[in-house]
C-alpha cells in the first residue's frame, strides 16, 4: 500500500470512525482502525461489533493494500501533525507515515483478521433529509433507558410506513415521540429498534455535506445501514417488542398551560437547584386568570435543610387549576430539545401522565410521569 492524503482529511475521518472503536474488548483487533485503499479513495473503518463506522477520504493511491493499526495511537498522532500532505507507505505489517518533518512507523495487525463490516443491501430502503433525521434523533434519544435491564428500552424505535417515519423512545418514566417523513416511501411497513447510543453517534457526524441519509434495513431486521456521502454506519438492531406507546399518550386533558419556553426552562433550572436532594422534585401549580386574562404557573422546589425557591411564569390556562410534581431533569431534558418559542403542558390529575408539546408544530409529543408528593 502506498498513497498520500491530506492531514486534515485523515484527522477528520479518524475522529468519526474512532467513535466505533471498542474501548474494552475481548477481541483486541477491535481496538484498531482498518485502513484500506478503495479505488481512488482511502477507507477507514472501526467496529465494536455493535456498530461499525466506515469513512472515505480522497487520496492519491499508488499501490493498493490494507492494514489495521491501534486507533487511539494513530488518532492522537495524526491530530498533532501540521495540515500538510501525509505520505503513507506499508511494508509488511508496519505502517509508515511521513508528514512535513515527522516520520513514524506503527506496527499493525493483518487486515484479513479484522471483523468483516456487515453488508446491508436487501430489505427496505429509504432516504431521509439530514435535518429531519437529526431533529428526530435529538428529540427522542435522551428519553431512552440507560440501564440495560430492559434492552428494548435502550433503543429508539423507528417505524416506517409509506413516507411516514415515527421515532419513539421511552425509559419507563417518560416517552418521546417524533413524527417525520422520508423522501422515498418504503415498500412495506417496518419497525426496527436502533440502539439510542448508535443514533446519537450518527447525529454527531451528520455534516453539512450530507443533504440526505440513506437507510437500509436487512430482511431479518437484525442490522441497519445509514449511508451518508462519505460515511456509513452499520448498527446491530435490538430484538424484541417495543411497548405499544400510543396507548400511553393521554388523549384529553383537564388543564392545559401554554408558556414561554425560555421562561419555563429558566424557572425549572432555578427550582432544580433546590430540588437536588429531594429526588429532584419540582412542583407546578397552574392557576387560570380571571375572565379571559392570562393565568400563571408557579414552579417551586424545596430542600429540607437548605431552603426553597418559587418562580412564576405567565401562562395561558385552559381548564381547571391544577397541581403536579415532576422530576426537574425530565422537564428540562424535554424543554431543551424543543425549538419553538412556546410549549403546552397538559395534565389530567396529579398522578397521571403529563404531556408536553411544542406550540405551532404537531410533530412532537412528550409524555412524562409525575412524582407523588404531599401537597
Amino acid at each position: 500500500m502506498k498513497l498520500s492524503c491530506l492531514q486534515e482529511n485523515l484527522k477528520n475521518a479518524l475522529s468519526i470512525v474512532s467513535r466505533a472503536v471498542a474501548t474494552r474488548s475481548t477481541l483486541p483487533i477491535t481496538q484498531n482502525v482498518l485502513i484500506a485503499t478503495d479505488g481512488s479513495r482511502l477507507k477507514l473503518a472501526a467496529t465494536n461489533l455493535e456498530i461499525a463506522i466506515s469513512c472515505w477520504i480522497g487520496a492519491k493511491v499508488e499501490k493498493e493494500g490494507a492494514i489495521t493499526v491501534p486507533a487511539r495511537l494513530l488518532t492522537d498522532y495524526t491530530s498533532l501533525l501540521p495540515n500538510e500532505k501525509i505520505d503513507i507507505n506499508l511494508t509488511k505489517n508496519t505502517l509508515h507515515l511521513k508528514c512535513a518533518r515527522s516520520e513514524t512507523s506503527i506496527n499493525g495487525l493483518d487486515a484479513a483478521d479484522f471483523p468483516p463490516i456487515p453488508e446491508v443491501t436487501d430489505g427496505i430502503n429509504t432516504k431521509i433529509e439530514r435535518e429531519a433525521l437529526r431533529d428526530g434523533i435529538n428529540q427522542v434519544s435522551f428519553a431512552a433507558a440507560t440501564e440495560e435491564s430492559r434492552p428494548v428500552l435502550t433503543g429508539v424505535q423507528l417505524e416506517f410506513d409509506g413516507d411516514k417515519l415515527i421515532l419513539a423512545a421511552a425509559d419507563g418514566f417518560r416517552l418521546a415521540v417524533h413524527y417525520t417523513s422520508v423522501l422515498t416511501p418504503v415498500s412495506a411497513k417496518t419497525a426496527i429498534i436502533v440502539p439510542a447510543k448508535a443514533l446519537v453517534e450518527l447525529s454527531r457526524f451528520l455534516s453539512d455535506q450530507d443533504e440526505s441519509v440513506e437507510i437500509i434495513v436487512n430482511q431479518q431486521k437484525s442490522q441497519a445501514l445509514f449511508r451518508l456521502k462519505n460515511v456509513e454506519m452499520v448498527s446491530q438492531l435490538i430484538q424484541g417488542v417495543f411497548p405499544n406507546y400510543s396507548q400511553l399518550i393521554p388523549q384529553k386533558y383537564a388543564t392545559r398551560a401554554v408558556v414561554d419556553l425560555t421562561q419555563f426552562l429558566q424557572a425549572i433550572k432555578m427550582a432544580s437547584i433546590f430540588a437536588r436532594d429531594g429526588s429532584g422534585i419540582v412542583r407546578m401549580e397552574m392557576t387560570p386568570g380571571p375572565e379571559m386574562t392570562a393565568g400563571k404557573m408557579n414552579i417551586s422546589a424545596r430542600a429540607e435543610e437548605i431552603g426553597e425557591n418559587i418562580g412564576e411564569v405567565d401562562a395561558l390556562i385552559d381548564g381547571e387549576p391544577a397541581k403536579i410534581a415532576f422530576n426537574a431533569k425530565y422537564v428540562s431534558d424535554v424543554l431543551g430539545v424543543i425549538k419553538q418559542k412556546q410549549v403546552a403542558l397538559e395534565t389530567t390529575t396529579s398522578s397521571s401522565p403529563g404531556v408536553i408539546r411544542p406550540i405551532g408544530v404537531s410533530n412532537y409529543v412528550h409524555v412524562v410521569m409525575p412524582m407523588f408528593v404531599q401537597w
Binding site: E147, S149, R150, L153, A170, G172, F173, R174, L175, P243, L248, S279, I281, N327, S351, P353, V367, V368, M369, P370, M371, F372, V373
Partner: protein, 395 residues
C-alpha cells in the same frame, strides 16, 4: 426561658399489656420473651419477677433458674404496637413536641403549655389517663433537659413521678453511679472505673479536655450530660437511619437451606419495615455471630436504592456465602439490615418493569400482613421455619 421536658416511660411495658388483658396474671411473676426451654432473652419482666433478680435481655434459661414458677409468655407484639400508639396519642393531647424513643417511652416538651397546667400537673394528668384508658403504669421524670428527665423517670420507677427543679440538676446527678447515664454501657463503665470514676458527680469534675482526649466527642457529650447540660431538642421526627433484624438459633448450624430460610424471613421483615416507612436502601448488611461468639458484619452498597425483599435477600445470601467461604464455623446468630436510606423516590411509572412488579407484589403482601398478621401469608422458602417462629415473633 426555662425548658420543661417530660420523659414518660411505661413500667414493664410488654408484661403490663399482658396483665391488662388477662387479669389472672396480674400481681404474678410474668416474663415475656418465649418458652424457657428455647434460646432467647427476656424482653420484659414484671416487678414480681424482677424481685427474683430477673432482668431484661437476660437469657431465658437463666431467668427460669432464678424464677422457675414465673409465667413465661411468647408475647403479642401487634398488641404492644397498638397500645404504644394509644399511649403516644394521649401524650400528643398535651403537646405537639413529642419524640417517641421506642414503643414505651417518649419525651414531651411542655414549655408554654401553662394553659393546661404546670409540668407536674400535666405529668399527673398523663399518668392518670394512661392508668384509666390503658390500664398501664407510666413513670415520669420532669427536668429542664432530656438527659436529666430520662434519669429522673428511671429513678422514679415503679409508678413514680420525679421533678428536678431548674438549677438542681448537678446536685441530683452527683451521687448516682455513672451507669445511670444513658449511653454508658459495660465498656465505658469499666474504662471510667479505671480512671477512678464511679459516680456522675466524679465524672462531672473531670475537665472536658481530658474526657475529649480519652473518649473523643462521645467524652465531651458525657461531660455535658454529667453536668446536667443537654441542649438536644425534643425532635418529633426522628428519621430512621437503618433498619435491622436478627435472630439467634436454637442450635448452632451451618445448614445452608436453614440459613437461607432464616435470611429470607429476616429480609422480608426488614423489607416490610423499609417499605412501611416509604424508604429505599442503598446498603444491605449482614451480621453473623459464630458459635464461639466471634461477630462479624459485612456490607454491600448498590448504585440504585432497592426496596424489595428479593433484592435484600440476594445481597444477604451473597454476603453470607462470602463470609462462610472465608471462615466455616457453626453459626449462632444471623442478622440482616439496611442502611443508607433514601426516601422512596415517588416517581410514578409509565411502563412497569419486572423489578417494579416484584416490589408491587411485595407491597400487596405487606398490606395483607398489616391486616391479618405477618404469618398470614408465607413464602414457600420459610415453610420449614413455621415451628421456629410463632405468630407473634419479635425477631
Amino acid at each position: 426561658m426555662v425548658r420543661s421536658i417530660l420523659h414518660v416511660d411505661l413500667d414493664a411495658f410488654f408484661v403490663s399489656v399482658e396483665q391488662a388483658l388477662v387479669p389472672e396474671i396480674r400481681n404474678k411473676p410474668v416474663i415475656v420473651g418465649g418458652r424457657p426451654d428455647r434460646r432467647g432473652v427476656v424482653a420484659s419482666a414484671s416487678y414480681e419477677a424482677r424481685a427474683f433478680g430477673v432482668r431484661s435481655a437476660m437469657p431465658l434459661s437463666k431467668a427460669y433458674k432464678l424464677c422457675p414458677r414465673a409465667i413465661f409468655l411468647q408475647g403479642h407484639f401487634h398488641l404492644y404496637r397498638d397500645f404504644s400508639s394509644r399511649f403516644m396519642e394521649i401524650m400528643a393531647d398535651f403537646s405537639p413536641e413529642l419524640e417517641p424513643g421506642g414503643l414505651d417511652e417518649a419525651y414531651l416538651d411542655v414549655m408554654g403549655c401553662d394553659a393546661i397546667g404546670s409540668p407536674r400537673e400535666i405529668a399527673t394528668k398523663i399518668r392518670g389517663r394512661v392508668k384509666q384508658e390503658l390500664q398501664l403504669v407510666a413513670s415520669v421524670g420532669i427536668a429542664g433537659c432530656k438527659v436529666v428527665a430520662k434519669i429522673a423517670s428511671d429513678l422514679s420507677k415503679p409508678d413514680g413521678l420525679l421533678e428536678i427543679a431548674p438549677g438542681e440538676e448537678k446536685r441530683f446527678l452527683a451521687p448516682l453511679p455513672v451507669a445511670r447515664l444513658p449511653g454508658v454501657g459495660g465498656k465505658t463503665e469499666q474504662a471510667l472505673k479505671k480512671m477512678g470514676i464511679k459516680t456522675i458527680g466524679q465524672l462531672a469534675m473531670v475537665p472536658v479536655e481530658n474526657m475529649k482526649l480519652r473518649f473523643g466527642t462521645y467524652g465531651v457529650m458525657l461531660h455535658h450530660h454529667a453536668n446536667g447540660i443537654d441542649d438536644r431538642k425534643v425532635a418529633p421526627y426522628d428519621e430512621v437511619k437503618s433498619i435491622s433484624r436478627e435472630t439467634t438459633f436454637e442450635h448452632d448450624t451451618l445448614d445452608q437451606r436453614f440459613l437461607e430460610a432464616i435470611l429470607w424471613r429476616l429480609s422480608e421483615r426488614v423489607g416490610f419495615d423499609l417499605r412501611s416507612q416509604d424508604k429505599r436502601a442503598r446498603t444491605v448488611g449482614l451480621k453473623l455471630r459464630y458459635a464461639d461468639f466471634e461477630t462479624i458484619t459485612r456490607r454491600l452498597t448498590f448504585k440504585a436504592a432497592i426496596a424489595s425483599n428479593e433484592a435484600i435477600f440476594d445481597a444477604a445470601v451473597q454476603l453470607l456465602g462470602q463470609a462462610l467461604d472465608r471462615k466455616r464455623k457453626l453459626v449462632r446468630l444471623v442478622g440482616v439490615g439496611v442502611s443508607n436510606l433514601v426516601s422512596d423516590a415517588k416517581q410514578l411509572n409509565l411502563i412497569v418493569s419486572e423489578l417494579q412488579r416484584r416490589e408491587l407484589v411485595n407491597k400487596a403482601v405487606d398490606r395483607v400482613r398489616k391486616k391479618y398478621g405477618f404469618t398470614s401469608i408465607q413464602a414457600g422458602r420459610t415453610f420449614a421455619l413455621k415451628d421456629t417462629f410463632s405468630d407473634n415473633e419479635s425477631a
